[in-house]
C-alpha cells in the first residue's frame, strides 16, 4: 500500500543490538592510555564573595598533575544566548549558587583528585542571597549579577491585536494561574567526558552531549583555540532532554586540565552534581486571562509569567519567549498579550527541558479552557474543536501551521477514549480530562546569530559499492535519530536499510546544531535525503553514459536498478563487476536485475569515490517584532491527549489509570520510534504533574539531589498509554515528516489536571499534585462548601 519501502515501517533500531548486549560504549566506559581523572571544587554557599584561593597544598599532593582556577582559565564569558554570556569557566569575584564552580584538579586517579580538591582553601565572605521571585524583586534585594538591576535577566512585552478592546467584545472573561516547581531532566547517564589535547595543538573532547556543534564553538571560544582544532565526539549518550544541550563547566574544565597536563583527562558528574548543574525546566508562575464569546469563540488571551531562572541565563531568554509564543496555536486566537520576566536567583541555573518553555504555559491555559467550557455549558472537546486551527492557518504571532492534524488528533482521542460516554459520567473519585498542544519541529534560527546551515550531511558510497555511509554531526541521544537517518537515506537512495550505516555525533562530519527543539528529524532528515539523492543521481549519471539511457528513465529501488522503459543489455557491466570479484560467492546471477552494488561500483570506477552532500537551512521565518524568532519553525507537530485518573479522597493520592494520546508527526519515519517518543514524553510529564520537585533548604542547598527523593516515574507509576499516530503530510519535512519528541509532552499535565477536577470537583493551581496538596485542596473545598451552606 505504501509508496515507500523503508519509511513508515517498524524497523528495529540500528543501535539496539549493541545496547541490548552491553556493547554500546558511553563516555564513562572509555579509557585512554595515561588518562588522568579530574574533579571540580564547587561552592558550598549560595552567594559569597571570593576573597582568595590557596591551591598550594593541592598542588603539593603526590599524584596531582594540574590545578586550575579562574587565574589559569581566564575570564572569557560564555553561555547559551550571546546576548547573555554571563558565565565564566570558574568564578573569580563571587559564587552565585551552591555548586558554582571554583577550581578543578587532574590527578592520577579520582581519589587523589578529590583529595586535592578538599585541600584547596577558598576564603569566602558569605553574602545575603535571593531564592524566590519575591526576594529577587524586593526593594534593595542583593543582586546576583551587578549589571542586572532588580535581578531581571530578561523581560518580554508583546501584544498582537488589541487584547483590551477584544475583552470588551467578550461574553465571558476568566482569570486563573498555575505555579510549577523546579525540575530536573533526570536522564539515567550523568554527564561525563574525556578531553585530550595533543602535541599538534588539537583538542578532542568525547562527551555526553546533545549538541556537539555548540560545545565545539564554546570550548574554542572560552579556551582561545581555533574552532578547526577542536573536535567534539559524542559516543552513545544516555538521554539529554535539554540539560545536555549546551557546553558545561565539566567539559570546559576537562579540556583546560588536559591542555595543562598534556594527558587525557576524564571527568564525570555524580548524581548530586547533575542536580547542581541543573539547566532543566524553570519554575514558572503563570497568570492568564482569556476572553470568549458565548458560543465558545476565543477572542483574546492575556498572559503574565515569572520564571525563577537561577544564577545564570543558560537558555533562559528563549525560555521566557517560548512561555508566551507557544500559546499562539493550535487555536485561532486573534489577540494575545504577553508579559514575561525571568529573574536571577541564587539557585542552580535553569535552562531547557523537553517542551521548552511551553509546558507550564500550556498546562495553565488548557486548564483554564476547561473552566471556561464548564461555565459556557460546553463540552471541553467541543470548545476546542470550535477554535482549532487547520493546515495553512497562521497564528497572530506569525507561526505558520504548514500542516496540522490537530482536529484529527482531537477526534481520535475522543473516540478512542470513549469520551462521550465517560465525561462527567464516571463515579466519584474517577475522572477524565483532555488537553492539546503543539511544538516546533526545529527552532527556525540557531542560538547564535548566523546564516550557517543548520546541518550538513555527507553520504559516501563505499568504493566496493555495497554500503552507503551517512556522515552527520547530529546527536543520537536515545531518541532514535541514527535509525531515522539510516531509514531516510535508504529510502532516498533506493536500497535496503541493511546497506546503510550511520556515523554521527562528530564535529568532523560537518555542522549540525544538534538534538534540541525537536529539530533533527525534519532538518537533518532533509539534509540526509538531499545527500542520498545526490549520491543516487551520480550513480545514475554514470549508468546513463554506460548504457546510453537517459537518467530520468532509470531509478534505484530495493537495491536494484529499475529501468522504466525497456531493459537494456547490461551484460558488459556485469562482466566487469564479476571479473573484479573472481572467487566471491555472492556475485549476482546471470538472470538477476542489475544491482545497486554493481551500479555504484561502476560509478566509482568512472568517477572515483561517490560522495553525495546535503544541507538544510530553513527559509526566513516569522514576523518582524522583537523576539519574533522564538517559536518559528518550518513545521509544527501537535497532539491531543485524554487522561483518566482516580483520586483517593482519604489520602489525596492520584493514580493515572490510562492515557489516550494522538500525535501528528507528519509522516512517521519509524512507527515504533514515534510511539516510543509519545510514551516516554508522557512519563516525564506524569512525573512533573504528580511528584517531581527539586527542593531547597533556606541556604539554597538541594534537599533531594538524588533519584530516591527526586521521584521520577517508575514502571509501577505508568499507566497504559494508547499511542495513536496521526499522519499529516508536512510539505517542509523529509517524506512529509515532522517532530514528535517534545510536542507530545505539552498536553499531558493539563489533561491530568482536568481529569482530577472531573474526579473531585476541585481545581488545583499548583504543581506537583502531591497527595498532601490534593488532600489539603479537598479539605479547603469542603470547608468552603460547608460555610456556604
Amino acid at each position: 500500500m505504501s509508496q515507500y519501502n523503508v519509511i513508515g515501517t517498524r524497523a528495529p533500531r540500528v543501535d539496539a543490538p549493541d545496547k541490548a548486549t552491553g556493547r554500546a560504549v558511553f563516555v564513562d566506559d572509555m579509557k585512554m592510555p595515561g588518562m588522568l581523572f579530574g574533579a571540580l571544587l564547587q561552592s558550598p554557599y549560595a552567594h559569597a564573595r571570593i576573597r582568595g584561593i590557596d591551591v598550594s597544598a593541592a598542588k603539593r599532593l603526590p599524584g596531582v598533575k594540574a590545578v586550575v582556577t579562574a587565574k589559569e582559565a581566564g575570564l572569557v564569558r560564555f553561555g547559551v544566548s550571546p546576548a547573555r554570556y554571563d558565565e565564566t569557566l570558574f568564578c573569580s569575584d563571587k559564587v552565585r549558587h551552591v555548586g558554582d564552580n571554583v577550581a578543578a584538579v587532574a590527578a592520577v586517579d579520582l581519589e587523589t583528585a578529590m583529595e586535592a580538591v578538599s585541600l584547596i582553601k577558598v576564603d569566602y565572605e558569605e553574602l545575603p542571597a535571593v531564592f524566590t521571585i519575591e526576594e529577587a524583586l524586593a526593594d534593595g534585594a542583593p543582586l546576583v549579577h551587578e549589571e542586572y538591576p532588580r535581578n531581571i535577566c530578561a523581560e518580554v512585552h508583546q501584544e498582537f491585536g488589541d487584547v483590551e478592546a477584544a475583552f470588551k467584545e467578550c461574553d465571558l472573561i476568566k482569570t486563573s494561574s498555575l505555579t510549577s516547581k523546579l525540575q530536573n531532566c533526570a536522564f539515567l547517564e550523568p554527564q561525563a567526558c574525556i578531553a585530550f589535547y595533543d602535541h599538534w595543538g588539537s583538542l578532542t573532547l568525547y562527551t555526553s552531549t546533545q549538541t556537539p556543534h555548540y560545545v565545539q564553538r564554546t570550548v574554542a571560544m572560552v579556551l582561545g583555540l581555533p574552532v578547526g582544532k577542536v573536535r567534539v565526539v559524542k559516543p552513545y549518550t544516555g538521554g539529554g532532554f535539554g540539560a545536555k544541550a549546551s557546553a558545561s563547566h565539566l567539559e570546559l574544565a576537562a579540556c583546560l586540565l588536559s591542555m595543562k597536563a598534556g594527558k587525557p583527562v576524564k571527568m564525570r558528574f555524580d548524581r548530586e552534581q547533575v542536580f547542581w548543574h541543573g539547566r532543566s525546566r524553570h519554575q514558572f508562575f503563570h497568570t492568564m486571562t482569556t476572553g470568549v464569546k458565548k458560543d465558545g469563540t476565543i477572542l483574546a488571551l492575556k498572559n503574565e509569567c515569572y520564571l525563577n531562572g537561577g544564577a545564570y541565563c543558560s537558555f533562559g531568554i528563549a525560555t521566557v519567549y517560548y512561555a508566551g509564543s507557544l500559546l499562539g496555536g493550535p487555536y485561532k486566537l486573534p489577540n494575545m498579550k504577553y508579559d514575561g520576566y525571568r529573574l536571577y536567583t541564587n539557585l542552580p541555573a535553569s535552562g531547557a527541558q523537553r517542551g521548552h518553555g511551553g509546558v507550564i504555559a500550556r498546562s495553565c491555559w488548557e486548564q483554564q479552557l476547561d473552566m471556561i467550557a464548564e461555565e459556557l455549558g460546553m463540552d471541553p472537546i467541543e470548545l476546542r474543536l470550535k477554535n482549532v486551527m487547520t493546515a495553512g492557518d497562521v497564528t497572530c504571532n506569525d507561526l505558520n501551521m504548514s500542516s496540522l492534524g490537530m482536529k484529527e488528533a482531537i477526534e481520535v482521542v475522543r473516540d478512542a477514549s470513549d469520551w462521550n460516554n465517560k465525561k462527567g459520567k464516571l463515579p466519584k473519585g474517577k475522572g477524565i480530562g483532555m488537553a492539546c498542544g503543539f511544538f516546533v519541529s526545529g527552532a527556525g534560527y540557531p542560538i547564535y546569530r548566523s546564516d550557517t546551515y543548520h546541518c550538513t550531511v555527507v553520504v559516501k558510497l563505499a568504493e566496493d559499492g555495497g554500503t552507503a555511509v551517512v556522515y552527520t554531526a547530529s546527536a543520537e541521544i536515545g531518541q532514535g535519530s541514527d535509525t531515522t537517518f539510516a531509514m531516510i537515506a535508504a529510502e532516498a537512495l533506493g536500497v535496503p536499510l541493511e546497506m546503510v550505516r550511520v556515523e554521527s555525533g562528530d564535529t568532523d562530519f560537518g555542522v549540525d546544531l544538534g538534538a534540541y527543539s525537536s529539530r533533527q528529524t525534519l532538518m537533518t532528515g532533509q539534509a540526509t535525503k538531499e545527500a542520498a539523492e545526490d549520491a543516487k543521481r551520480q550513480v545514475l549519471e554514470v549508468l546513463s553514459k554506460e548504457l546510453n539511457i537517459p537518467v530520468e528513465d532509470m531509478d534505484i529501488k530495493n537495491g536494484l536498478v529499475v529501468f522504466k522503459n525497456t531493459k537494456p543489455d547490461f551484460t558488459a557491466l556485469r562482466t566487469r563487476y564479476q571479473k573484479e570479484h573472481r572467487g566471491w560467492i555472492d556475485n549476482p546471477g546471470a538472470e538477476e536485475e542489475l544491482s545497486f552494488r554493481e551500479a555504484s561500483r561502476i560509478a566509482y570506477l568512472a568517477r572515483g569515490t561517490i560522495v553525495g552532500t546535503g544541507k538544510y537551512r530553513p527559509p526566513e521565518l516569522g514576523g518582524k517584532f522583537k523576539g519574533a524568532a522564538v517559536g518559528t519553525s518550518p513545521a509544527y507537530g501537535c497532539s491531543a491527549q485524554v487522561a483518566e485518573v482516580s483520586v483517593d479522597e482519604g489520602t489525596g493520592k492520584i493514580t493515572v489509570e490510562k492515557m489516550v494520546d494522538a500525535h501528528d508527526c507528519g509522516r512517521a519515519i519509524n512507527r515504533t520510534s514515534v510511539e516510543g517518543q509519545m510514551q516516554g514524553s508522557i512519563s516525564m510529564a506524569l512525573g512533573e504533574a504528580l511528584f517531581e520537585e527539586v527542593k531547597f533548604d533556606d541556604k539554597g542547598r538541594i534537599l533531594n539531589a538524588d533519584l530516591a527523593e527526586y521521584k521520577i516515574p517508575t514502571i509501577l507509576d505508568m499507566p497504559k498509554v494508547d499511542a495513536r499516530i496521526v499522519e499529516s503530510n508536512e510539505p517542509n519535512g523529509p517524506f512529509g515528516a515532522k517532530e514528535v519528541g517534545e510536542g507530545n509532552i505539552v498536553p499531558t499535565i493539563a489533561a491530568i489536571l482536568n481529569a482530577v477536577y472531573d474526579a473531585i470537583g476541585v481545581r488545583i493551581h499548583e504543581l506537583p499534585l502531591t497527595p498532601e496538596r490534593v488532600y489539603l485542596a479537598l479539605q479547603e473545598y469542603k470547608n468552603k462548601s460547608k460555610t456556604k451552606s
Binding site: 528495529p12 541490548a20 556493547r23 564513562d28 539515567l188 531518541q479 510511539e675 533519584l707
Partner: protein, 162 residues
C-alpha cells in the same frame, strides 16, 4: 590493602585482587572490562548497575567486590550464547524497548531473573519485578510488551534452538 577473591563471572572463573572499599560495579567495569553495567547514581536508586548474583538481582554499586567472593555473577555480557542473543535481548530489540540504552542492561537482567522463576508472569508481576530499574526514555510500555512477548513464547532453555 588488596585481597584476593575468587568468583565466577559469566561462567568464567576469576581470581582478582580488590580493595576493601571497591564495589562490585567498579570491579566489573574497571578490572574485567564489563561495562554493560552502568553507573547512574552509585546509591542503589536507579538500577542501571543491576547484575545477577547467585540467581538474584543486585545493585552492583551497593555490593562490595569482597562480598562477591565465591559467588556466581551474570552480567549483560553473559546472556549471549553461541546460539545467538537471549530471547529477552531479541524481544527488547524487536519491540522497541530500547532508547538511550543506559537502563537496558539492568532491565534485561531483571526480566531474566523474573522469567527464570516465573515463565508466564502477569503484567503486574512484570511491573513489580522491574520496579527497581528506572527508565527516563520509554515510559516503560514497550519494555513491558517485550517481556510479555518472551513469556508468551514457550519459555525454557530449548527455545533457543528452535
Amino acid at each position: 590493602m588488596k585481597k584476593i577473591i575468587r568468583l565466577t563471572v559469566n561462567n568464567e572463573e576469576h581470581q582478582l585482587a580488590v580493595e576493601p572499599n571497591q564495589t562490585l560495579l567498579d570491579m566489573l567495569r574497571d578490572q574485567l572490562g564489563l561495562t554493560g553495567a552502568k553507573k547512574g547514581c552509585e546509591m542503589g536508586e536507579c538500577g542501571a548497575c543491576t547484575v545477577i548474583m547467585d540467581g538474584i538481582t543486585v545493585n552492583s554499586c551497593l555490593v562490595l567486590a569482597m562480598q562477591a567472593n565465591g559467588k556466581r555473577i551474570t552480567t549483560i555480557e553473559g546472556l549471549e550464547t553461541e546460539q545467538g542473543l537471549h530471547p529477552i535481548q531479541k524481544a527488547f530489540i524487536e519491540k522497541g524497548a530500547i532508547q538511550c540504552g543506559f537502563c537496558t542492561s539492568g532491565m534485561i537482567l531483571s526480566a531474566k531473573v523474573l522469567l527464570d522463576k516465573n515463565p508466564k508472569p502477569t503484567e503486574e508481576e512484570i511491573r513489580s519485578a522491574l520496579s527497581g530499574n528506572l527508565c527516563r526514555c520509554t515510559g516503560y510500555q514497550k519494555i513491558v510488551e517485550a517481556v510479555q512477548s518472551v513469556s508468551e513464547d514457550d519459555v525454557g532453555p530449548a527455545r533457543q534452538e528452535s
